[in-house]
């Protein structure tokens, strides 16, 4: 809920900066990485409550998930893990060379990408 309030504050600042009335806001597009421990549905629920309280009555929230991406520190192989980390069979070790010193190259995103405003 705190993060949702943050997002709404940031959106409000962007609208004010551009002199756009908040009633014209129709959509906010957000990316959440798999390594951020944010449940998209819970975030959306919080955003809907916070946006209505802030007078953004027409806004819907579109949340895109970004996959966990790792680059092997041994052979440089890059892997995209759609399910994120976790699960019985999960291992950060490289499936090709077996080295276990990966660098996380994606999955920690948490950004407001764009907003849609009605004419």
């Amino acid at each position: 809920m705190g993060l949702a309030a943050n997002v709404i504050d940031m959106v409000r600042a962007e609208l004010e900066k551009r002199n756009i009335d908040k009633s014209r806001l129709t959509a906010v597009k957000i990316t959440v990485g798999k390594m951020m421990q944010i449940v998209p549905d819970s975030l959306k629920f919080g955003l809907e409550i916070a946006s209505r309280a802030a007078g953004m009555h027409n806004a819907e929230f579109v949340i895109k998930e970004a996959p966990l991406k790792v680059k092997c520190g041994g052979c440089g192989r890059e892997e995209c893990m759609q399910r994120g980390a976790g699960g019985e069979d999960f291992s950060m070790a490289c499936k090709k060379c077996g080295a276990n010193n990966p660098q996380i190259t994606g999955g920690r995103e948490f950004t407001i990408d764009s907003i849609d405003v009605a004419d």
């Binding site: 705190g2 551009r18 957000i30 421990q37 999960f90 950060m92 948490f110 950004t111 405003v117 004419d119």
Partner: protein
């Protein structure tokens, strides 16, 4: 209708304050660790033993994070003069500490007299991993009673840790815990972390833990 591109990092406000906190600590030559664990893993008990051992050796300060009560501050005060309690219920009951809370808490200490700042985060294996608070390293505590599967169930918290301290080792004879499995599961999500096995009760592993703390700060 128009689509306006923004691309703003939602964590940026927190991260910026975290960098500021880190800068203040560096300017005072203070090493800072952020301790993360589930509730009841033994963070405060380990700190009681740690502070007692470091007394007269390393000037320490502690920031305690809890949703409510000064219980942990009161437990640590006999071992350390500089203990400050943050109760997140004054900020809406957050389940983690944020950088701005640490920045405010630093004002409570004489930073010229501190060499090691230990922050005990709110007991929670999820959110604290997402919030930088200006620390130099993250230490994750994981007690034997939590079961072998926790590194796999909470991979992000385990992955971001620089050191993983397995606590309550004195309970090993009483539990059906597969130690090899614990080591294997930690390595699956984080092979670079230093892993230390301790018992705050018996003293097992405490020398290694203190060595880690005192050498990491160099």
């Amino acid at each position: 209708m128009a689509e306006i591109e923004i691309v703003k990092d939602i964590m940026e406000e927190n991260d910026e304050i975290a960098r500021e906190v880190n800068g203040i600590l560096n300017s005072k030559n203070i090493y800072c660790i952020n301790i993360i664990s589930s509730p009841g893993a033994g963070k405060t008990t380990l700190l009681e033993k740690t502070l007692a051992r470091l007394k007269g050796r390393t000037e320490c300060a502690v920031i305690e994070g809890d949703i409510s009560t000064p219980i942990d501050r009161d437990r640590l005060l006999p071992h350390c003069d500089s203990v400050y309690q943050i109760n997140t219920d004054t900020f809406g009951g957050d389940c983690h500490l944020s950088a701005f809370m640490i920045k405010d808490a630093l004002k409570e200490f004489d930073l010229d007299k501190i060499k090691l700042l230990i922050i005990e985060n709110v007991g929670n294996l999820i959110c604290p991993a997402d919030f930088e608070i200006g620390e130099h390293s993250k230490v994750l505590l994981y007690s034997l009673t939590e079961g072998e599967d926790k590194p796999l169930k909470y991979p992000v918290s385990f992955n971001v840790a620089d050191a993983i301290v397995v606590t309550k080792m004195d309970l090993l004879p009483h539990l059906e815990v597969d130690m090899a499995k614990i080591t294997e599961n930690i390595a699956k999500v984080n092979a670079r972390a230093k892993v230390i096995f301790v018992s705050s009760k018996s003293g097992e592993g405490l020398n290694e833990w203190i060595d880690y703390l005192t050498t990491a700060k160099k």
